[in-house]
Amino acid sequence: MAEKKLTFEENLTQLEAIVNELETGDVPLEKAMTAFQKGVKLSQTLEETLSKAEKTMAKVMADNGEEVPLDAETQA
């Protein structure tokens, strides 16, 4: 689907829009249903994205263009 091409922020924005829309209470039932399902899926996807991402170590851009780990002292 088109959703996969959206960025995390765009998805988050969509999710927020959906939440806000649903919270106004003015959404027709079927539409609310679809929005609800979509919203839950989005929030799950986004949460997974965040929680599955790996922690990183800071790096330094070497003169040769490579990114190399910073020395431990700097990071501590």
Partner: protein
């Protein structure tokens, strides 16, 4: 002798002296250099202090409005360059310098350059160019700063604490001295060329205006403006405002603040997502509940629950109408029957039977009377006739004949009374009491003869 009236008042003299100060064209704008003395910061107020050098001292006043504009904090003994005017304060009789502008002595040239560049860039509108939005969830953050020192350390620490999944890449750069500006520009270009960064943090720690100067260079400013990647600048202390800070998309007071601006808190975000999911549930539940309530309100209407009430009234109406119909018709028939019977009774009362009987009686009576009347009449007539006939009989001349008489008539029945009535051979008739005799006259004898 000088009369007392010729003595000047203190006020008059002071006013005269003040006028002298005011009118002097040199004292109206004075460029003065000296050390600050007797300075004690009075927050949010006019400042009173002195300027001195080795031989002289002058009172100085800087009004609040002017003092707020200066970019540094005055310190005791600090050499400063000031611009102001000289005037006299009548209440104390002191003359003093009214300072309009003040800057530290010795940095004046840089300061001038800074002001000039700022004015130029401002005219160009560079400060007003729309700031780029920071990426809320950066994957890669480029940090352009010195590899040594607290800046990079603070940024790393803060980022790892908040958002450890972002990749920090340090782009080491000299941040002071000759060549620093060029390096900063190169690094900015490099980061932009590489293109896979979400955010740039550029900065250094605090220092003198000379130390910070590379960040006031036009090249650096333009490189920052030209960056396709949002830039957070954090140069010097909070009180230092460099051109870089002005043109960056966001200015952070400290490196820690810069890292905080650059990254969200990962746990918060996860929590937020969960909360949003909860809000989704709640909102949708409310929608369902609301719809359910509305539906059940409608479904509870008696027209759906007890639809027979829709025609209960009709049932009764029809039943009543039926009763009224039958009753009306029965009454109608009853009245008709009564009317008919009444007339029938009256008709029967008028039956001609009795009339007939009466008529019969009348006819009978009349007939009876008729008969009797006729009988009476005939009887009467007979009586009278009988009497008349009886009387006639009594007077009948024929009774004489009974005694032996006869009378004579001729053929014509005419009575022949005397001889002269007779002729010989004349046929005559002799009438006797019991009959008639025919005879002839044979002789005629007259009586006297």
């Amino acid at each position: 002798m000088v009369k007392p009236a010729d003595y000047l008042t203190v006020t008059a003299l002071t006013q005269y002296l003040k006028a002298k100060f005011e009118r002097d064209p040199y004292l109206d704008r004075v460029y003065l250099t000296g050390e600050i003395s007797n300075f004690r910061l009075r927050p949010n107020a006019h400042q009173y202090f002195s300027l001195k050098d080795r031989q002289a001292k002058i009172s100085a006043i800087m009004f609040k409005s002017a003092f707020e504009k200066i970019k540094f904090t005055p310190e005791e003994g600090m050499k400063v360059l000031v611009v102001g005017r000289i005037s006299l304060y009548e209440a104390t009789g002191n003359y003093q310098v009214y300072i309009e502008r003040m800057e530290p002595d010795g940095l004046g040239a840089l300061y001038q350059a800074y002001e000039q560049l700022k004015a130029k860039l401002s005219t160009e509108g560079l400060f007003d160019t729309s700031k780029q939005q920071l990426v809320r969830f950066p994957k890669r953050i480029a940090v352009i700063t010195s590899p040594s020192g607290a800046v990079i350390r603070d940024i790393i620490t803060t980022t790892q604490r908040r958002y450890p999944i972002a990749q920090l890449i340090l782009f080491p750069a000299a941040v002071q001295g000759d060549g620093a500006a060029d390096m900063l520009v190169d690094r900015l270009k490099q980061v932009n060329q590489q293109g896979d960064f979400d955010t740039i943090i550029i900065g250094r720690g605090g220092g003198s205006i000379e130390d910070l100067w590379p960040f006031n260079e036009e090249r650096v400013a333009r490189a920052i403006v030209a960056s396709q990647i949002p830039i957070i600048s954090s140069v010097g202390h909070e009180t230092d405002t460099t051109i870089a800070d002005l043109v960056a998309d966001v200015r952070a007071a400290t490196p820690t603040a810069a890292a905080e601006l650059a990254t969200p808190v990962l746990t918060d975000e996860v929590l937020k997502l969960q909360q949003q999911r909860l809000r989704l549930y709640q909102a949708f539940s409310r929608t369902l509940a609301l719809n359910k309530k509305q539906l059940s309100h409608l479904e509870n209407s008696y027209v759906l629950k007890q639809p027979q009430r829709l025609y209960d009234g009709y049932l009764q109406n029809v039943d009543q109408l039926k009763r009224r119909l039958v009753l009306a018709q029965q009454q109608r028939l009853q009245v008709s029957r009564q009317n008919g019977q009444l007339l029938q009774q009256r008709l029967q009362a008028q039956s001609p039977t009795s009339t007939l009987q009466q008529a019969q009686k009348a006819v009978n009576e009349t007939k009876h009377r008729l008969n009797r009347a006729v009988e009476a009449l005939v009887r009467d007539r007979r009586l009278r006739a009988s009497q008349a006939m009886g009387a006639l009989d009594l007077v009948s001349p024929l009774k004489v004949l009974g005694r032996g008489f006869a009378y004579v008539t001729g053929d014509d029945e005419h009575v022949l009374r005397q001889t002269a009535d007779f002729t010989i051979d004349q046929p005559i008739k002799l009438h006797v009491h019991d009959g008639l005799i025919n005879a002839h006259v044979t002789a005629i004898h007259k009586g006297d003869e």
